[in-house]
Structures are given as C-alpha cells and as structure tokens.
C-alpha cells in the first residue's frame, strides 16, 4: 500500500531555512545573551511586574499607616523612604520600562513588519542596565538608606547638610544609571521606527501605536538629559562641595526645581502616551473600525509631548514666581489640553460608530477613558493659578496624578496584557474572571483615589506620615485604604487569571480578535524571525487588507523577499519607506550583560566614594565596548 505523504505547504523550504538561521541559543545562556526583541520584551515584562509588586507593597504599607490618625505602623523615617521609593519605583521601574521596554520592544518590530530592532545588542544592553539600576536602587532599601526626600528631592532638603546619609546618593546615581537604559531605548525606537519599517510602509501607513511610541521616545530623548544634568549637580554638591543650589554662594534652590520639572513634566506625558498607543490598538480591534480622525490623532500624540515641554513651571506656582511668568506657563498649560481632548473624542466616537465588543481589553480601555478624563479635568483646573496655589502639595494633587497615572497608564497596560496575551503565549485567557478583575480594580481605584480630592480640599497636605484626628480626614483615609486593598484583590485576580490561562485555557490561533495590525498575520507566538516574507503594506491596518495578505502568501510560495541568506532584515528611507538596503542582524552576544555589570561597578564605586576605582571600572567599560565592536554583525 502506498504511503500518503501530506503535501508540503507552499514555501515550506524557505520557512525551514529561516527557522535554522534564526534559531535561538537554548537554555539560560540563550536568555542571558539574547538580542531577540521578543525575548527582551518578556524579560522587561517580568522584571517590571516585580517592581510593580514592590511599589504596590510600599503603597499599601503607607495606606495602612494612614488608615487612622496617629498610627505607628512605620516610623517617620521609614515612611519617608516608602513614599520616595513608591514614586521612583512606579515611574522609573514600572511604567516606563513596562510600556517602552515590554510592550514597545515586543510589538514595534511586529507592527512595522520588521524582524528585530535596528540595534539588537543595544536593545539587550538597555534591559540589563535597567535591571542593574533597579537592583542598585533597591539595595538602598534593604540597607535602610533608601532615598527619602520624595521622588523629586527638592534641595536644600536633599543636600548633604540636611540628608547626610547615602540615601540621596543612591537616588542620584540610580537615576542616572537608569536613564542610560531609557535613553538607549528611546534612541532605539526612533531609529527603528524610521529605518526598519517594511518597505512600502510610508509614515502615513504606520500604525498609531508606533506614532505614540515615537512621540514618547522623542520625549525621553530630550527630557532625560535635563534630569541627568540636575542629578549630576546634586551629586557634585553633595560629594565634591560645589554650590549649584547653595544660596549662600550664588546658587539657587529653585534651579533644582526648574531643571527637575523641565524633565518632570514631559515625563508624565511620556508615561501616558504609550498607553494612548495601546488604546489606539485595542479600540479598532474591538470595534472592527478604523480609528476616527487618524491624522488628527497621530499629530495630537506628537503634539502633546512637544507642547508638554513648555509647561513645566506650573509645578512651581507656589514658589513666588513673578506673575507674568506664571501666566505664561498657565497659557501653555491651556494649550496642552487640546491634543488630549482630540484623542478622547476620537476614541469615544470610534467606539460609538463602530460595533463595540466589550471584552476585557475594551473594558479596560473604557475604564481608562473614564479615569483619564477625570484626572484630566482636575488637571485643567490647575491652569487657574490661584486654585493651583491653594491645592498644590495636598491630596488633591495626589488624586489628580493617580487618576492620570493609574487610569491613563496602568489601565491600558492591563488591557494590553489581556489583548496581546493570546499572541504572546499562544493561549486565550478566561473571559469571565477577566471582566470581574476589571470591575474590582475599577471600583477599588475609584474608592482609593476619589476621596483624596475631598481630603485635600479639607486641608490634608501630602507626604505626611500621620495626621491628627478631629479634622474630618479620618473617614476618607480609611475609605482610601479599603479601596487600596480592593484594588489589590482585583490585581491579584487579574494575574491569577493570566497564570491559570497560560496553563489551562484553550489554544489561540494567530488572529483571535481579527485585529488590525501586522502582529496578527503571524503565528501565536510569533517565530523568531517574525515574518516569513517582508510584508506588503498599503495602509495602517494591514491585517484588514486581504489583497496584501494574499500577495504575501504568493511571495512566500515563490520565495520572493524571504531574506534567508543570513540573519537579514530590510532597511528603508525614513519618510516614504522606500526599500534602501538589506542588513545583517547580530546573533546572541554576551557583551551587553558584561557591559551592564561593568557599569554597575562604576556606579557602585561612585556611591562608596572610591572615585579612582570608579575610573578604572570606566576603563573596563571601554574595553568591553571594544570587544563588543570587534565582531561586526555580518561575522
């Protein structure tokens, strides 16, 4: 009897060759030396979740301390470390690396039809530096000398005179260390988005997700150096004896504030703009409709970061600035409202005119819109300078920025986790627990943050480790603490659901949502090489362009644009996306880890004032870079 051999799928031999070219090194060594953007994205994902947990524990301890007046859960010194580390952790070690490092890394090459980032080894370096900087700063907590002057460390409080221990030195060095990772990531995204798109993907055919990440990356690129300059000044003042901030010798405490907020305000847009990108991916998928007013939204995403560079002194309205300066910054703050309102109504109208399916990801986006609008409306109130001067540095402000950060950054992150879970893991998630987790988190966060508006207006200032009874603050604080624990329950349910789904839920095929962008055209999870052929792209919603997908299948069958001669990917011209050249990408490399370790040694030596050894470690870094650059990508 003849053996029946099933017919091979068209193009199978090309796929096999790609599989061999792109096979990753097995085992732990494979993960340590990986340059694959998907693996790096996953590394970021788990690491940032650990920091999210730490930041959350810090928050819940604070909420417990504040649940009733005159509590003694923690000492004032510990409380100061807690609120400082909570802010630092959530901003620098959770939101930024989760959105850019995890979501950005994993999805941008997939969405632009590329096989990897433009500089894969540098991508790995970003992750290892991020991890090292997080460990560096958290060492301070375990040694009882964590930063304790807030996440913004105003001087003179943060100067050597008033904060003599190593706490603020951990802060300065840790922040500079971390900003190297974020700067490298920002540069990576900018070059990748401009040079590594699939040929034919001109900028107006690029998904809005990528516009959002481009805006955030440009923001990071221009904001982080200002923070670095500021922390360099503080480090020098504290350790060498310079006088940048010392009014007795010509310095100025307000210099710190200006430089900090020139970084700090763009930073808050950088926190939420990638989340806008997540929203603009989820809404089309769950309404089966192209997003309303695409060009307005794309421009708005870039504009909000750009205008955001001009509003910084609205954080300083209580410092006694001249009226004319304050009015200028209030006017700029007024302008920055418009790009956000454009986006809110574009999202809403897309949901109204499309056919909305309220699965868990879209629920989180609806929740995000509600929270973002609430936080944004109180933000608009701050352009009224007298009102800002009344409520700045109170719990009203805490309410505002938590509605924005938790609502406009964390909700989309949670929604995005559900949305892309099938793509990354190859499994669906359980829908019912997903919806329940959303509702619990929604109720919890509103109970946690809404009363803060009221208690701030009733006079409760921020960063207080306790408060007296009899001022009418107690009931609100207690309610907030309850809300915090409810939020915890919801978050635990969310992650529990994802973990159980990973092991028990049904398998997902490559396109469970009929999503709009290119990641849905490849397998779940994607192969190492992402796409077997360089995809044909004629719109920002390629997975809905059936003709182009048909063309790709034909290309694969004939072996056209498979690029299997090596570890290859195309490069294009920045604006029109014309095919420019084919470049070879590097394979695994040990040098990113080694360089991150060497840098960690530099910063550790600086911390313990061994400056000469720090210099020697710097030379070690240069030698590592030499070794790194010795092997060129094609070798």
């Amino acid at each position: 009897m003849a053996v029946v051999v099933p017919p091979r799928p068209a193009g199978a031999e090309y796929v096999e060759r790609l599989e061999r070219q792109w096979a990753s090194r097995p085992g732990v060594l494979g993960w340590l030396t990986t340059t694959d953007h998907k693996r790096i994205g996953l590394l970021y994902f788990w690491t940032t979740l650990a920091f999210f947990g730490a930041g959350g524990v810090e928050a819940l301890i604070m909420r417990t301390q504040l649940s009733t007046p005159n509590e003694h859960v923690v000492s004032p010194g510990t409380y100061d470390e807690l609120f400082s580390m909570h802010g630092i952790t959530m901003i620098f070690f959770f939101i930024i690396p989760m959105t850019t490092g995890a979501f950005g890394n994993y999805l941008i090459p997939l969405m632009i039809g590329a096989r990897d980032m433009a500089f894969p080894r540098m991508n790995a370096l970003s992750y290892w530096i991020f991890l090292a900087s997080g460990l560096f700063i958290y060492t301070s907590l375990f040694m009882g000398m964590a930063p304790n002057a807030g996440w913004f460390d105003y001087v003179p409080l943060a100067s050597r005179q008033f904060d003599p221990g190593r706490n603020i030195d951990f802060y300065c060095l840790g922040i500079i260390f971390n900003s190297i990772a974020s700067t490298l990531t920002a540069g990576q995204f900018i070059v990748t988005i401009f040079k590594s798109r699939a040929p034919g993907m001109s900028l107006n055919r690029m998904p809005l997700f990528c516009f959002a990440f481009l805006a955030a990356s440009l923001g990071l690129l221009f904001a982080l150096p200002v923070l670095s300059a500021n922390t360099i000044f503080l480090f020098l003042d504290r350790n060498i004896g310079t006088h940048f901030f010392d009014p007795a010798r010509g310095g100025s405490p307000l210099l710190w504030q200006h430089l900090f907020w020139i970084f700090g305000h763009p930073e808050v847009y950088i926190l939420i703009v990638p989340a806008f990108g997540i929203a603009t991916s989820i809404i089309p998928a769950f309404t089966q409709r192209r997003l309303t007013a695409f060009p307005l939204v794309a421009i708005a995403e870039l504009l909000v970061v750009f205008i955001g560079f001009g509003v910084w002194a609205h954080h300083m309205f209580a410092t006694g600035m001249p009226t004319i300066s304050m009015v200028f910054f209030a006017a700029a703050t007024a302008m920055v409202v418009i790009p956000s309102t454009i986006q809110v109504f574009a999202w809403c109208m897309s949901m109204v005119t499309g056919s909305a399916r309220f699965r868990t990801p879209l629920l989180f986006i609806a929740g995000f819109i509600f929270m973002f609008v609430t936080g944004g409306l109180t933000g608009i109130m701050f352009l009224a300078i007298p009102f800002d001067q009344q409520v700045t540095d109170t719990y009203f402000i805490i309410a505002h920025f938590h509605y924005i950060i938790f609502g406009a950054a964390v909700f989309p992150i949670f929604g995005g986790m559900y949305f892309w879970f099938p793509k990354v893991t190859g499994r669906m998630y359980f829908e019912r627990p997903g919806q329940i987790s959303f509702w619990i988190i929604f109720v919890g966060t509103n109970l946690l943050f809404f009363p803060m508006h009221i208690v701030g207006l009733l006079g409760m200032t921020r960063r207080v480790y306790t408060y007296p009874g009899g001022l009418g603050w107690t009931a609100f604080n207690f309610a907030e603490t309850v809300g915090g624990f409810i939020t915890l329950v919801g978050i635990l349910l969310l992650f529990g659901n994802l973990v159980v789904s990973y092991f028990r839920a049904p398998r997902a095929d490559q396109d469970p949502w009929h999503g709009p962008t290119l990641e849905w055209t490849t397998t779940s999870p994607p192969p190492e090489y992402n796409f077997a052929v360089v995809p044909t792209v004629t719109s920002p919603y390629p997975n809905w362009d059936d003709a182009d997908r048909e063309r790709d299948r034909a290309k694969l069958a004939r072996g056209v644009l498979v690029l299997d001669e090596g570890h290859e990917q195309p490069a294009v011209t920045p604006v029109d996306g014309r095919f420019a050249e084919i470049v070879e990408m590097p394979n695994e490399s040990p040098w990113p880890v080694v360089l991150a370790i060497s840098l960690a040694l530099v910063f550790t030596m600086l911390l313990i004032e061994k400056y000469v050894i720090a210099g020697l470690m710097g030379i070690l870094c240069l030698i590592t870079l030499l070794a790194w650059s010795w092997k060129e990508p094609q070798e």
Binding site: P156, L254, R289, F345, A346, W439, G472, W473
Partner: protein, 342 residues
C-alpha cells in the same frame, strides 16, 4: 455594563462627597470654608470649575454608555471590518468637542482666573497693607516676628481681623510652605529669598495652617494657628508679646529657671529679658500664652508640657530637642517655670 454602572456611581459619589465635605466643615483648614476675600474667590472658582468638570465627565460617560448600547451591532452604514461608518459625523464631534469647546472653556477659565482672580491672591503691593508679619520656617516650627516691635513668638500668628496684613515668608534651613487655606493660598518659604502674601480675615476667629512642602522627618507635625483678633485685642496682645519675660514668682519657678539657664535649654531657646539666647528652637518668652506646643502637635496643658519636656522624641521623633535626662522634680520645676511665662 460600563456606562450603566458609571452612571449610577457618578451621582452617588457626588452626593457622598457633598455630605462628607460638610462633615469636615469647621476643621479650620478647609479650602471650601473661606474666611477671606481671597479664599472666597478661589473657592468660587473651584465650584464653577467642578460644575464644568462634572458636565465634561458626563458627556464622555454618555458617549461610553452610548457605545455600550450600540455594542455588537452593525455600525452606522457599512459593517465590514476596516470601514469607517459615521466618519463625517465623528469628525464633527472631534473638532467641536475636542478642539472648539475646549478652546472656549480653557480660554475663559484662563482669563477669569489668571487675569482677574489672580490679582487678589498675588503678593500685595507695599502700600496696600499697614501691618507686616515675618514668618520664618524652620525644621519643624514657625518663627513669627513683628518688625518694628520686639514681639517674637512661634507657631501662632495673631493678626487684626478685617485688616490686610502682609506676611513675609522665608525658609531658615530647607524649603517649607506657608498655608492657611481659609485665608489664602500657599506660598513657599525658601532659603535665600523672601516671598509675600496677604492675609485679610473677614471676621475674628482661629484658622489652622500647616507646612505644605515636604521638609523632613516631622513635616507632618508643622502646623500653626492664625488668630484673627478684634483690632483692639490684637494691639494689646502685640504690646504684651513685645515685653520681656515675667520673672519667676515662686521658689519652684526659680528652681525651674535655674535649671533652664544652667542646662541645655538656654542654648537652643530664647527668653527675652534673661540670658537664654538660642535660635535652634522657638522663642519661649510667652510660651504659656500659646494654645499648643510643638507646632500643633500637643496641647499646652500641664500634662502635655511635662510629657514634652520629659521626652520630646516620643511625640515628635527626629525633632531637634534631645533627651534632657531630667529627674521628676527637675521636670516639675521646669514646668512650673514655663507655665509662669505668660
């Protein structure tokens, strides 16, 4: 479920907020219980803005609710994936509600608050006030001086009611922030510069304030009172406050004074009319007249005063007052002496 639940919880939150807000009325530190022209302007601004905010939120919630009602349905026109049903109408909404309406609202708010209201809350012109008070923020207490007199006190400010008073604020060590919400907005106390603000209480009363810029370990315990007195009472208070300390009138008080001058106390605290001259801690010349101790941390009753002197670190850990290693009788004498400093 989204829109419906949100519509139900929205007004509920508002109602709850209003009820609980009124519960906090009378705490002396309530930005929405204004006691001056300045705070009233700010509070009015807030009520209008909040009204506008609820309307804005309601519009967005209505849109979300509408999208929920239309869920799983065919769109306005074609329902093929990737189409843009109702695109023209959507553009109109985006431009009208997302560009035009915000521009109008924001511009109006800007003009009203930053051209008009701001004129009442900004630093006063020098001719506008007849009395100046200097406030210097320390870690973690407030030094109060009345230039032109010898009056120096701490953590309590007296001003004549219905009189615009200029308060000049600066920081002695780190940045603090002077905030008494029922009378005006906050102004930072920064080392190396002097900021000004006006206090003009509508009526006599006691108003509570607190440091509003994180200034270290005991930032949470850096409150102060502003007493607006009828002008005659204020004048007599000021005159009395300028006088030197009353001499001790009993043997116990004399013992207390000896302990004070001979021990660590006199190196940190000033008592005018004696040899005690220190600037680390507050001026104690008329300490018995004050309503609280340690910047509103404790009352000024005998038991609290004794507790404070015996173990200041217990009540305000990290503050600059060390353990004085007093015997019980020593403490008793000191308490007697300090209570005599009216």
């Amino acid at each position: 479920m989204t829109g419906r639940a949100a519509r139900r919880t929205g007004p509920l939150i508002f109602l709850l907020a209003a009820v609980l807000l009124l519960a906090g009325c009378g705490n002396g530190q309530n930005a929405l219980a204004p006691a001056s022209h300045q705070s009233r302007d700010i509070a009015d601004l807030f009520w209008w803005m909040m009204g506008g905010a609820w309307i804005g939120l309601a519009i967005v919630v209505a849109l979300l609710f509408w999208s929920w009602k239309r869920r799983n349905r065919r769109g306005l026109g074609s329902d093929r994936a990737g189409e843009k049903p109702g695109e023209r109408a959507s553009w109109y909404v985006v431009v009208a509600a997302g560009i035009a309406m915000p521009i109008v609202v924001v511009a109006t708010l800007f003009v009203i608050s930053d051209i008009f209201v701001i004129q009442t809350t900004q630093a006063p012109a020098s001719a506008a006030t007849k009395l100046t008070v200097q406030v210097i923020g320390h870690q973690w207490w407030w030094e109060i001086r009345y230039p032109g007199t010898r009056a120096v006190t701490a953590n309590e400010i007296h001003i004549p009611a219905r009189t615009p008073v200029r308060v000049e604020v600066r920081g002695a060590d780190v940045i603090h922030s002077f905030w008494v919400p029922e009378l005006n907005r906050k102004i930072d106390a920064i080392p190396g510069r002097t900021n000004s603000i006006v206090l003009d209480a509508d009526e006599a009363g006691r108003y509570r304030g607190q440091c509003a810029e994180f200034c270290g370990l005991q930032h949470a315990h850096m409150g102060f009172y502003v007493f607006a007195d009828p002008p005659a009472r204020f004048r007599s208070w000021l005159a009395h406050e300028a006088t030197p300390a009353a001499p001790p009138s009993s043997a116990l008080e004399r013992t207390g004074q000896r302990l004070f001058m001979g021990g660590a106390c006199s190196s940190c605290h000033t008592i005018r009319g004696t040899n005690a001259q220190g600037y680390v801690g507050p001026d104690l010349t008329h300490v018995a007249d004050r309503t609280t101790l340690a910047a509103l941390t404790l009352s000024n009753r005998r038991s609290d005063l004794a507790g404070w002197i015996g173990n200041a670190q217990h009540y305000k850990p990290g503050n600059q007052m060390p353990d004085l290693n007093l015997t019980a009788s020593g403490r008793q004498a000191l308490v007697a002496y300090l209570e005599g400093l009216r």
